[in-house]
Amino acid sequence: MPSEVDDTLKRLSNRKGVKGVVILNGDGQAIRSTLDPELTVKYGRLISSLVQQTRTTISTLDDQNDLTFLRVRTKKHEIMIAPDREYLLIVVQNPAETMQA
């Protein structure tokens, strides 16, 4: 069963333009990561705090609402974040590369 998870991660991280894939728990601790350990810890701490902040913003605006997906476009890349109750999937990609037909 766990190898299914690793297959999925490998498939994602092998895609053109994808720089890294990280899965975090609710405390920002990495369960799986294709980034180096130092960067993984940074992403874990900072992205989980960004998600927490975004979630609070959304539910404060409308308490019936909740965050479902977060895309952050930057000069260098795009960070895609899929959150659920318990876990977070982070994919860092370079859109200029992934979108080449």
Partner: protein, 58 residues
């Protein structure tokens, strides 16, 4: 500082194994990876040609 590194300590291999074997986690990976893959499949870049003052190496 000590407290911070305590708070963000890495999970142990044992803890990781435990999480990865739960149906909730497998469900999460299945669903979230599909959503991300769909986003990655988009061929249209809405920022293209409008990225000001940035040298994007390609």
């Amino acid at each position: 500082e000590q407290e911070k590194s305590e708070e963000f300590r890495d999970l142990t291999e044992e803890e990781r194994k435990m999480i990865v074997s739960t149906p909730e986690f497998l469900d999460f990976v299945d669903t979230s990876s599909k959503v991300v893959e769909r986003a990655l499949n988009e061929k249209y870049d809405f920022m293209k040609d409008y990225t000001l003052g940035v040298d994007v190496e390609s």
